[in-house]
């Protein structure tokens, strides 16, 4: 495969890159989607699956608005994708809870959401602080350690893996060219002309999109851009399947469409290290068992750690 030309190339086949590639292809462009192979830092394969609004964008009202708007456009997107591929993404947006295990946590939470509301201004921000009894009405089985919760109606969850599959499947079905196992060895840029030397031959396109997740930090300077993203580790535990038990997700506990309960997810600054750490796993398990004592008796059948793609201030990077 030497010397292929496309209207556009997208570097990175995670959720972001595959969505952009899919969109460009739908607009009629010829598109190459370049990706690494089976073993790669791919946050899209290791995430928790929340479509989460509450507390996103504290101190950055525009980000708060974006998050809300994108959560609102989720039902339409899920319908579209289901129509195209016949694959359900398991989207559910019944609202969500953040559970507090002490009065201190409760007070901090109340302050945080109060600030969100203030910053939302005319856009509005609907939330409620619930006491233990009210929280229990929404989520039966909460343990005595839970002193209260915050609730917003905007939150929900989705199957991230079904989404990734749906994107890849849809892109290929639309005639897009997915090129996994690519190794970029040289980059040449000129106005409306980008040329990559790769192990698969040269790939040329009028437009290039950098969606390489953590790979963007290294790639961006070659394109005269800056993307100072860093890895931030998160660990997740998954239990065996149970009958439907959790009508809505919380910040760290959700039941998937298959019936597994996912317990997450830690925040660790450890660089490019995807090893697991037992103390962190123990803490996730401990907290989950405090929130829902019955979860303590479930078997953990899977666990992993993965790297988030984090910007210096935790906010989106844009010009």
């Amino acid at each position: 495969m030497t010397g292929r030309r496309f209207d556009a190339m997208v570097i990175g086949g995670g959720l972001v890159g595959s969505a952009i590639a899919w969109g460009l292809r739908r607009e009629g462009l010829s598109v190459a989607l370049l990706d690494e192979g089976d073993a790669a830092f791919r946050a899209s394969r290791g995430n928790f699956g929340l479509v989460w609004v509450q507390s996103k964008g504290l101190g950055a009202p525009w980000y708060q608005r974006w998050t809300r708007q994108s959560a609102e456009s989720w039902p339409g997107l899920a319908d579209d994708l289901a129509k195209q591929n016949g694959l359900s993404l398991g989207l559910s947006q019944p609202g969500g809870l953040h559970l507090c295990l002490s009065d201190r946590e409760m007070n901090k939470r109340a302050e945080r959401l109060e600030q969100m509301k203030r910053e939302a201004g005319n856009y509005g921000f609907e939330y409620r602080m619930l006491d233990a009894r009210e929280a229990r009405d929404l989520l039966p089985g909460l343990g005595p350690a839970v002193v209260g919760a915050s609730f917003t109606p905007y939150d929900g969850h989705v199957s991230p893996l079904a989404l990734l599959r749906s994107r890849h499947q849809g892109f290929t079905a639309l005639g897009g060219v997915y090129l996994p196992n690519v190794k970029i060895t040289g980059i040449a840029t000129a106005p409306r002309n980008f040329l990559l030397e790769t192990n698969l031959g040269t790939i040329q396109a009028e437009r290039a999109v950098l969606a390489a997740g953590l790979g963007n930090a290294k790639l961006a300077p070659h394109f005269g851009l800056k993307a100072p993203v860093r890895p931030q580790r998160g660990q997740v535990l998954v239990t065996e399947r149970t009958r439907a038990a959790l009508p809505m997700p919380t910040t760290t506990i959700r039941q998937t469409g298959e019936g597994s309960i996912m317990l997450g997810d830690s925040v660790e600054e450890v660089g490019f290290d995807t090893r697991q750490s037992q103390p962190v796993m123990a803490e996730i398990a401990h907290r989950a068992a405090l929130c829902f004592p019955w979860i303590g008796r479930l078997n953990v059948v899977r666990a992993w750690s993965a790297l988030r793609v984090m910007s210096p201030d935790g906010l989106p990077i844009y010009d």
Binding site: G141, E240, R241, T242, R243, A245, E258, G259, W294, R297, L298, N299
Partner: protein, 98 residues
């Protein structure tokens, strides 16, 4: 379907498989007791509900997931029998233990 050879394994333990009392040789696993009980299957999968019996007997395949002494989804081939142990069918995804 399995049978014992009582001449060669004389010591036995009584267990209860799906409500039926059964003498099984000492040293058996709960999965061995299930095979001796002659059940058509011991679980239905959580995915499609298809029936299963143990496949490997050595802890690899997890097709022996069973309710043992009230605890769901235990790996029966890795659990040695004990007097009075109750072994019951696992119906797909487990109930929520409240």
């Amino acid at each position: 379907m399995f049978r014992t050879r009582p001449d060669h394994r004389t010591e036995t333990v009584q267990v209860i498989v799906e409500g039926r009392a059964l003498m099984v040789p000492e040293g058996s696993s709960a999965a061995a007791a299930i095979l001796l009980a002659g059940l058509a299957s011991i679980r239905e999968t959580a995915v499609s509900g298809s029936p299963r019996l143990p496949w490997c007997m050595m802890g690899i395949c997890f097709d022996c997931l069973t309710e043992i002494d009230g605890v769901a989804n235990r790996q029966a081939c890795m659990v040695p029998v004990a007097v009075g142990m109750r072994i019951a069918r696992q119906h797909g995804a487990r109930d929520v233990p409240r």
